[in-house]
């Protein structure tokens, strides 16, 4: 009998788990519906500010026949600056309070290179502009997510459909900027911000400039061209209008030395320094 009791207990626990799981699924659905209604009526993507964790493995796709919404814009955007944690000093803040614009009335996205693996992108969008894109999408707007589509456009004139590959990053919350790990040096990139529907159709809101990540490592090209510049400078110039991390340097240096089979003198070692690069 004792064994039977144990079995019955197990069965009950199992049933409980199943019910719990079903309940959670239902809750998820309700949340989803609620989100849709929220988007529909308040036109806001929800999401907490500041989750900008590294995007791990990117899945690269191939540029498809995405629909380019010629009508452009969105209010995915909180307008305040991030809170700066600062200790106030009286004399610094006793003067006039300086405020800078929270919004310039633009619809644009700007892409920048941080290093050989990371890009940085910021954007500004006006509600009206995003609404127009949304209306153009018709019923497909309901399930659409806001994404950054990152294209590899190395050595091509990008027309929206001819990228070598791309990946998407879903943007949530009031983010106004994002760090993008592309993980590839010496490649060119362009980013679209747009709506991705559950059917996989992509509607572009704004397109960024193109940037190129720098090359890492010694060039394979060894053609030598030499020049003298004396004549270039033989003219009169008229004034226009009237802490250090050593890893990259050291590895670059070693890399070069290995390539050239050079050695350098060894150095004596010295004591610990308290110097900090200003």
């Amino acid at each position: 009998m004792a064994i039977d009791k144990a079995i019955i207990k197990e069965i009950f626990l199992l049933l409980f788990e199943i019910i719990k799981a079903l309940f959670e699924m239902l809750l998820g659905k309700i949340k989803g519906w609620f989100g849709l209604f929220w988007n529909r009526f308040f036109k806001l993507a929800d999401v907490s500010y500041g989750e900008r964790e590294e995007e791990p493995e990117q899945e690269w796709g191939v540029t498809g026949e995405d629909e380019w919404a010629s009508i452009p814009e969105a209010s995915l955007v909180k307008q305040e600056e991030p809170q700066q944690k600062v200790e106030r000093r009286e004399d610094v803040f006793s003067g006039e309070i300086q405020e800078i614009p929270g919004n310039y009335g633009d619809n644009r996205i700007v892409l920048m290179v941080r290093d050989p693996e990371w890009l940085f992108v910021y954007w500004e969008l006006q509600g009206k502009f995003v609404d127009d894109v949304r209306s153009a999408m018709g019923s497909m707007a309901y399930s659409a997510k806001v994404v950054l589509r990152v294209y590899d456009v190395t050595d091509i004139i990008f027309n929206g459909n001819n990228a070598h590959k791309y990946f998407d990053i879903e943007i949530r919350g009031g983010a106004r900027n994002w760090y993008i790990k592309v993980g590839e040096s010496d490649r060119s990139f362009c980013v679209d911000m747009g709506f991705l529907t559950s059917y996989g159709t992509f509607f572009v809101i704004v397109r960024s400039n193109v940037v190129k990540t720098p090359r890492v490592g010694v060039s394979e090209i060894i053609d030598e061209e030499w020049m003298s510049v004396k004549e270039l400078y033989e003219k009169v110039y008229i004034p226009a209008g009237s802490g250090v991390s050593e890893s990259i340097f050291e590895s670059a240096h070693k890399n070069w030395l290995e390539t050239h089979k050079l050695g350098v003198s060894s150095t004596e070692s010295f004591n610990c320094s308290t110097i900090i690069k200003k």
């Binding site: 000093r89 004399d91 300086q98 030499w226 270039l232 110039y237 226009a240 209008g241 110097i275 900090i276």
Partner: protein
């Protein structure tokens, strides 16, 4: 002639900090400390070397904001007040320490140093020490090069060529005004280079710039001599790469000279150590303890029990380190010369303020280094990059790669979560400035509009200073950097709006002109 060359490069820069609206201002001390501890000791070293007929070469970038502050009357007057207070305090210190022999001799030394600083500053160079560097340049010993107008980090200017061009051209014009000639070279702010910048330098008549090691090593095609000879960018501007070895010996927190236990400890200052009531008159108005510049202890070791500083022992160390540095460069040059078909050049660039301010004995080290190079060896000769180009006018053509000398070697130090919010504003402001310059270049502007347009250029340039992003990242004095960024951007925005709507407030304009008075000669058309 020996087998190779050493080009010591010192980059002297401080952000433009000048607050006439306050009687005194904490951040103005950055300049005063640097004058006392770095610029004047270096001037003394150069003067003595010249007097004694010892040949030397040094390349120094003096950034336009630094030159502007050194030439500014208000700050000159304030410096005299600053140094006189220190002379007064060391007088008291001599009295206070009269029964402590070790400290007493140090107090006397500081008193002598400060008195000398006052003399060199106020009398010898008539308050404008830029003239000292001009004198050394005219003597052919120091090559003064320029920098970005306000030390703006060029690779993060979103390829706004007009904005980058303005940073370069304003700097070059400013240099010409102070040195009576155009600069041969430039220190790119933070060594920040990206492809294409060289064309703008070329356009300004600049012959060379210094770049980070991997900027050259990762260049395309592969540079035959690595960083031991310059390369020409496609524009014909030469790029010299920083030598890793010599940098590490001075910079490295593990192996660098400045950490020697006999050197002066930076972090033990009487501003923190002495009795509050005694030191209070020498602190700032808010009464917060801060550095005074009188430090009695040596690094000693990894301990809080610091021992008294002995200047004589520290000087012996500086001489020893200078000898070691020279020895290593000799070995390096001998080896390089054996594998290269020309005499190699080693580029050793440092922040000027490392010498004297952080590394108290740094100027003495430079002094010993040049004396030893002159008398103790025949392998290396000191040289400036320009002299090297005259010696070797034919060089390989390569495209350097994006690089900076900041943490990790690219843009991260100036673009991260502590400071990334500034770029949308800086980019927008630069675009608006270019638009304004275009609009008002072809129409008649009245004198008031002209002033407002010029002031808008100043505000933009000041906002672009890489120092603000740098400080936000380091985490000290952050509120000041934020305030400055917002202040210049908001002044710029208001000027811009007022110019467009033709509602310029002349009184307010006069007020900000008197505060942000950098580049009085600026012409906004530099942005067109």
């Amino acid at each position: 002639m020996g087998k190779g060359f050493l080009a010591l490069v010192l980059h002297a820069h401080l952000p433009f900090v000048r607050h006439p609206e306050y009687e005194e201002f904490l951040e103005e001390d950055w300049l005063f400390e640097a004058i006392t501890e770095t610029y004047i000791p270096l001037i003394n070293v150069f003067d003595r070397l010249i007097e004694e007929g010892i040949d030397f070469r040094i390349t120094m970038s003096l950034s336009p904001p630094l030159i502007s502050m050194l030439a500014d009357e208000l700050l000159q007057t304030r410096y005299i007040r600053y140094i006189e207070k220190r002379i007064q305090l060391t007088g008291k210190e001599i009295e206070r320490t009269k029964h402590q022999k070790e400290f007493n001799s140090l107090a006397r030394r500081y008193n002598a140093n400060f008195t000398n600083a006052r003399y060199v500053f106020a009398e010898k160079y008539q308050r404008n020490i830029v003239q000292a560097f001009k004198k050394f340049q005219d003597a052919g010993k120091v090559e003064v090069i320029t920098c970005g107008a306000t030390h703006g980090f060029l690779p993060l200017m979103n390829n706004n060529l007009n904005a980058i061009r303005a940073q370069i051209h304003v700097a070059v014009n400013h240099y010409q005004k102070h040195f009576g000639k155009r600069p041969n070279g430039i220190w790119l702010p933070e060594c920040g280079y990206e492809q294409g910048i060289d064309w703008i330098l070329k356009d300004a008549g600049i012959r060379f710039f210094i770049t980070e090691t991997h900027g050259i090593l990762f260049a395309t095609p592969r540079p035959k001599y690595g960083i031991y000879a310059p390369i020409y960018c496609p524009s014909g501007v030469a790029a010299f790469g920083r030598d890793v070895e010599s940098s590490r010996q001075v910079w490295s927190s593990k192996e660098g000279y400045p950490g020697d236990f006999f050197y002066r400890e930076f972090y033990r200052d009487v501003g923190y150590d002495l009795d509050y009531d005694y030191i209070r008159p020498y602190l700032h108005g808010d009464g917060k303890r801060s550095n005074i510049g009188i430090k009695y202890y040596r690094i000693t070791g990894k301990t809080d029990q610091k021992e008294p500083y002995s200047h004589e022992m520290a000087l012996d160390k500086a001489a020893e380190h200078a000898g070691n540095f020279m020895f290593n460069r000799e070995k390096q040059i001998e080896y390089l010369a054996s594998v290269m078909d020309r005499n190699p050049i080693i580029i050793a660039p440092y922040d000027a303020e490392l010498f004297g301010h952080w590394w108290f004995e740094g100027p003495d080290w430079i002094n010993y280094l040049f004396r030893k190079i002159a008398y103790d060896q025949k392998t290396i000769s000191p040289i400036t990059p320009m002299e090297y180009l005259e010696l070797y006018p034919v060089n390989q053509v390569c495209k350097p790669s994006l690089s900076s000398w900041g943490y990790k070697g690219y843009c991260e130090y100036w673009l991260n979560e502590s400071n990334d919010w500034i770029y949308r504003h800086l980019h927008k402001a630069a675009e608006r400035m270019v638009e304004l310059a275009r609009t008002y270049s072809y129409t008649n502007v009245n004198p008031l509009q002209n002033r407002a347009l010029n002031q808008a250029s100043r505000e933009l340039l000041l906002a672009q200073s890489s120092d603000w992003a740098f400080i936000m990242r380091t985490g000290t004095m952050v509120e000041y950097a934020i305030k400055r960024t917002k202040e210049h951007l908001s002044r710029f925005t208001r000027l811009c709006d007022d110019i467009c709507s033709n509602t310029i407030d002349a009184n307010w304009l006069t007020d900000i002109e008197s505060k942000d008075n950098i580049f009085p000669e600026i012409d906004y058309r530099v942005y067109q």
